[in-house]
């Protein structure tokens, strides 16, 4: 409850930024942190809870972006276009889910890897989506609209993850990660759950992508379906700490900050640093920054308690 209240308060603060005279630069940083937070929470839902690694969350957001732009250009109102973005992305995720989630292990990861590549190749061949040249949003919207929508979505995603993590479904998902055979033995329908949570996770990406399309307004297949966004979607929760609602929040803020610093210091080192961070966290800091911070707090607490008893 307290967690939800803090999240809502933070979101409200971030959402009024464009109207409170904060500089465009700061507003953009907050916007991107919110965008990456939504993608990170979506990845956390699927891969963080079930252990099935997705390399395609950026491409799922790309589907949402394309759907939204094509719908708005076709004369649909923005709300309906965003609904369509969610629906199309969720449906597309079934292509991966149904082919690979019946199987154990790496099959899913392979299916996501190739989904990303196939989408890029496919969209470039699709004249309706503008082909290789991409497409542009015909309506001109104020950037405050996607800003507010994205911040609210990020808050919603974070609260939704926290609720899911504590629910029975969340425990079942974690059981699949722990030992799928044992989970199946106690009556958990792993296949259905995995496909369901992946679909929900994809829907969230679709919404984020749709909103992001309103922000960037012009879509090029190479950048929309670039692997980079998918890397961010998994780097954010991994660096912050998987399985927790707070992890991606810390990860998104850290990532956006790091990217800005690198932009000034060493713009071309970006990929190398992100890769190294993921590697180091995976090898040495398995529960991410949030996990490390918690352990540190715990140690201080026990230390203080020991001091008290000594007195």
């Amino acid at each position: 409850m307290r967690f939800a209240a803090i999240t809502v308060a933070a979101a409200a603060l971030a959402a009024v930024m464009p109207f409170a005279g904060v500089s465009v630069y700061a507003g953009t940083l907050v916007y991107y942190a919110a965008y990456y937070l939504v993608l990170g929470q979506a990845w956390n839902m699927m891969s963080g809870l079930t252990g099935y690694v997705s390399f395609t969350h950026g491409a799922l957001a790309g589907i949402g972006a394309y759907t939204a732009v094509l719908a708005i250009n076709g004369g649909w109102p923005i709300t309906l276009a965003l609904v369509a973005a969610v629906a199309v992305t969720a449906f597309a995720s079934l292509v991966i889910g149904v082919t690979s989630l019946r199987l154990r292990g790496t099959a899913f990861t392979f299916a996501t890897l190739f989904f990303q590549e196939l989408l890029l190749l496919g969209v470039r061949k699709l004249p309706a989506a503008g082909g290789a040249a991409g497409t542009t949003l015909q309506e001109i919207l104020p950037t405050s609209l996607p800003h507010v929508l994205m911040v609210l979505t990020a808050a919603g995603a974070t609260i939704a993850f926290a609720l899911l993590r504590r629910s029975r479904t969340g425990v079942r998902l974690l059981a699949i990660k722990g030992d799928e055979d044992a989970a199946a033995a106690v009556g958990i329908d792993a296949t259905r759950l995995k496909i369901g949570v992946f679909c929900a996770s994809a829907a969230l990406c679709g919404l984020a992508g749709g909103i992001h399309a309103l922000f960037i307004a012009s879509l090029h297949p190479e950048s929309v379906f670039s692997v980079d966004t998918s890397i961010v979607a998994l780097a954010v929760p991994l660096i912050g700490g998987v399985e927790t609602a707070l992890g991606p929040v810390a990860g998104a803020i850290l990532y956006v900050g790091l990217r800005e610093i690198l932009q000034i210091v060493a713009p071309s080192l970006h990929l190398v640093i992100v890769g190294l961070l993921i590697l180091l966290v995976t090898l040495f800091l398995r529960d991410g920054i949030i996990g490390a911070a918690r352990r540190l707090l715990q140690r201080r607490r026990t230390y203080r308690a020991a001091l008290e008893t000594a007195r």
């Binding site: 082919t99 790496t106 071309s268 080192l269 890769g275 995976t282």
Partner: protein, 288 residues
């Protein structure tokens, strides 16, 4: 008829390179149950090493093969000791993330060092030979022969009594193998190192007949994954047949449609393979 033969030979060259990529993947997967997402970056390493060797010293690109192999084996050993050895017994998510992170680092390093330019060189065997109306470049013939020699040498190593037995024992049960006196650490180091050397040799050969970019290895790796999945992960003969089949598919589809359609068809094959393989990538053994 001449056209079909011509396309078949192109497919054969492409397929033999794919087979070598797949062999490296299958070796590491077979021994360590590890899917190495960084395999593609080791291909790129071999390609750039050969490119630099040829353009700076002017020697024949054939020297790129042993140099790349040596470089690959050394770097592979280092990566195995620093990163991969820490992954034994870890959950799959962490092993995947670690090799994926390695791949991102490699991609970033190559982009940093070489930029996005397409790099080629003209040194080495040149010209064509005409056999029954089919024009075959000497470069293609060199690649084909090199692939067969390197592939056969690797298979000989894997099936050789002690080394191969060690590999298979570690693959079946790491602890039991160690208890029976198999040097598990050495087996795993050797397997990974040989696999990376194979990737680097592939890169050297690819730089020879194609263009080198920071992405080149990644693209070959995707096709390599399709090959090992269609052929059945862990089955070397299955992978070789799949490599030739996909090589032919690619060659014919690129000619009659275009390059992207060839890629789309290859990638769709992966989903088909997943659908018709209800027991997973390893067949019956995937239960564990």
């Amino acid at each position: 008829m001449t056209l079909i033969l011509q396309l078949a030979i192109n497919g054969l060259v492409f397929g033999s390179l794919l087979g070598l990529v797949a062999l490296g993947l299958a070796l590491v997967f077979g021994v360590m149950r590890l899917v190495n997402f960084a395999h593609g970056e080791f291909i790129t390493l071999g390609a750039y090493a050969t490119y630099l060797l040829v353009t700076t010293t002017g020697v024949s690109p054939l020297w790129g093969i042993p140099i790349a192999a040596l470089l690959g084996a050394t770097i592979g050993l280092a990566v195995q000791m620093l990163v991969i050895s820490r992954l034994a017994g870890r959950p799959e998510l962490e092993a995947l993330m670690a090799t994926y992170a390695l791949s991102i680092v490699g991609l970033g390093l190559f982009a940093l060092a070489f930029g996005g330019d397409f790099r080629t060189y003209s040194a080495g065997p040149a010209g064509n030979v005409t056999l029954a109306g089919v024009v075959v470049g000497w470069r293609s013939i060199t690649v084909l022969v090199a692939c067969v020699i390197v592939g056969a040498a690797t298979l000989a190593l894997v099936s050789r009594a002690r080394t191969g037995l060690g590999f298979r024992a570690v693959a079946q049960n790491r602890e039991a193998a160690a208890a029976c006196g198999v040097n598990v650490v050495a087996s795993e180091r050797l397997a990974f190192s040989v696999s990376v050397a194979l990737a680097a040799i592939c890169g050297a050969l690819i730089s020879f007949i194609g263009t080198t970019t920071p992405n080149v290895g990644h693209e070959w790796l995707l096709d390599g994954f399709v090959v090992v999945i269609v052929g059945g992960l862990g089955s070397i003969s299955g992978a070789l047949v799949a490599a030739l089949a996909i090589g032919l598919l690619h060659s014919f589809a690129s000619y009659f449609l275009d390059d992207s359609w060839a890629q789309i068809m290859t990638y769709v094959l992966l989903y088909v393979a997943l659908l018709v393989r209800p027991h997973g990538l390893l067949g019956a053994r995937s239960a564990t």
